[in-house]
Symmetry: C2
Subunit: 341 residues, 2 copies
């Protein structure tokens, strides 16, 4: 996580100066039986690492209702109940493919690292208590990122509507780390008095409400709808990852997206305009200030992934894997050609 | 080529009816030494074949001057002097990767088949003489496509500024086919009296001029600048592949594209507005007419590739390869994952 954060920090500086580039995510969608088939791609180039990357997700997506809220759920429909997500890494010097990697672990780490960078610029330096809303796969990465930028945190409260999940999360992480962990099944209890609240849910409804938002608090989210519109309005600073949080959509005419899902599975009825918000690149490059006093309410919305993030994290991962002798060497000639493309 | 044309014909019908979808090509570009590094991607889904595809080119591009005109040239900089172009094919039912293929042969076949479809709707049915401008890799596919839709052609004239190249092309194809082939080193001689002229060059300057454009002629091009603006103005019908012929560009701020190259290596000073032209999907779906009389001058401009073309042609190729037992089976589990992406 430290390496991931440091690599991304460099990438945002390169992005802010116009050297690194990234193509906005696109979602190409058709109906597939009762579900939706989506081909999601994003590209980026990290010149300082000498790599370009394409991240591809080939997803079967559904929107089941879980408890009182809808969730956007990917179905592991590939053989062996597996998901399909790939990162292809290319050399900017020769064009050749350098690696093909599954995206799952990297996806989680880059989300955690991105949120951590937001936290680093926006949360109180002297934060000691943090809350994690959610106890799943993404929640672990939020925790790792948080502790990388705020190692002084002493108490971590974890909310899950399912007590067993929250308690399992606390046991797992509590056994590895020096912080005190405690599980809660009411959000209000979990966030009260926290310096930092990090949402890491698959909910497409708001989970963090205005009544929870105390003076001096920093709230992070891994997708826009987690923080309610009224919280965003109350915040002294709302910063955003990219600032135009919608993918480019290409949809078949016969596609029916569930009514409650908005155009990418989010409610849009109470949409907030993120387009004029400070971005993470602004914060990191110093173009704008982060937190300036202990009383500010701050939000960081990790709105949309960038191909550049995958180029950077996959590029660093590739170097580490090569040093460690991890992975299989695929013959380059199978993935190159003599024919002019 | 017959299979390729037939598969694409079906795809354009599905595209016209909004069932098949395609994401417009994007070019993400940075400087790389004296050259440009480009990561070019396009996605498409062909529901009737049950496949989605992403085509990726990872290119080192230069713009050398050859003779009196500039060319856009990709450098085979990968080990063994190879190019990097891939098509990844996915199942729309399970999401899983079905194949990874080099794109070179398919790229050429789909360009040839697309131009052939344009020719089929726009050229005279009773055409007997055709000219090919160019004698390279793409010229061969133009010829194959042409003869698939106009098998009655008796004479093929081939222009190349390099006589040896033109003659070699004529020898190669003449030995396989029943048509009479003849090489020319002046365009005027090569095209005079032809029913169909197909440009297949890497030139970024016009090669087919107004003075060449006779009554009743059909002229095809594999990139917009090959046919001069004054020819397009003279034509009775100008049809186009897609109709918005520019890729989505993402460029580093420090990128310097050569002055003469326009924004994708083409001169734009004499730009023609293709956006209101009839598209190939219009012609195939019957939304608009093709040629209606023997005197019309017609143009088909194969302006920009579609991810859908690659989904369709790669999908059909995959089935043929499976039937024939061709290719290597890569273990699916290497390209899928248990982690939620």
């Amino acid at each position: 996580m430290d390496r991931c954060i440091s690599a991304l920090r460099g990438a945002y500086l390169d992005f802010a100066s116009g050297v690194a580039v990234t193509r906005r995510r696109s979602d190409t969608l058709i109906p597939s039986g009762e579900s939706i088939y989506g081909l999601k791609t994003m590209d980026g180039i990290a010149p300082n690492l000498g790599v370009g990357a394409v991240r591809i997700n080939s997803d079967i997506v559904t929107w089941p209702k879980v408890g009182s809220s809808y969730r956007r759920v990917k179905v592991p429909a590939a053989p062996g109940s597996r998901y399909t997500g790939l990162i292809l890494v290319f050399s900017t010097e020769t064009g050749e493919p350098l690696a093909i990697m599954p995206d799952g672990v990297i996806q989680r780490m880059r989300v955690g690292a991105t949120s951590a960078l937001g936290t680093d610029y926006l949360a109180k330096k002297e934060a000691t208590m943090a809350s994690i809303i959610g106890s799943g796969w993404q929640a672990g990465a939020q925790l790792m990122g948080l502790l990388a930028v705020r190692p002084e945190i002493q108490t971590v409260r974890v909310f899950s509507p399912n007590s067993a999940h929250g308690e399992a999360f606390c046991r797992e992480w509590g056994s590895q780390l020096g912080q005190e962990f405690c599980a809660y099944s009411l959000i209000t209890d979990a966030v009260q008095g926290a310096d930092i609240v990090l949402c890491a849910t698959s909910s497409i409804d708001p989970v963090f409400e205005r009544k929870h938002f105390e003076k001096g608090m920093h709230v992070g989210s891994i997708k826009p709808p987690e923080i309610s519109r009224s919280c965003l309005d109350l915040a002294d600073k709302v910063c955003v990852h990219l600032g135009h949080g919608k993918p480019a959509l290409v949809q078949a005419d016969n596609l029916v997206v569930p009514d409650h899902s908005g155009d990418r599975g989010w409610k849009t009825s109470d949409a907030f305009d993120f387009s004029s918000c400070t971005t993470l690149a602004d914060l990191i490059s110093g173009a704008t200030n982060g937190r300036t006093n202990a009383d500010e309410r701050t939000c960081f919305v990790n709105d949309l992934g960038l191909g550049l993030q995958f180029a950077v994290v996959a590029g660093v991962t590739l170097r580490l894997a090569e040093s460690a002798g991890i992975g299989r060497v695929l013959p380059t000639e199978l993935f190159t050609q003599v024919e002019h493309p």
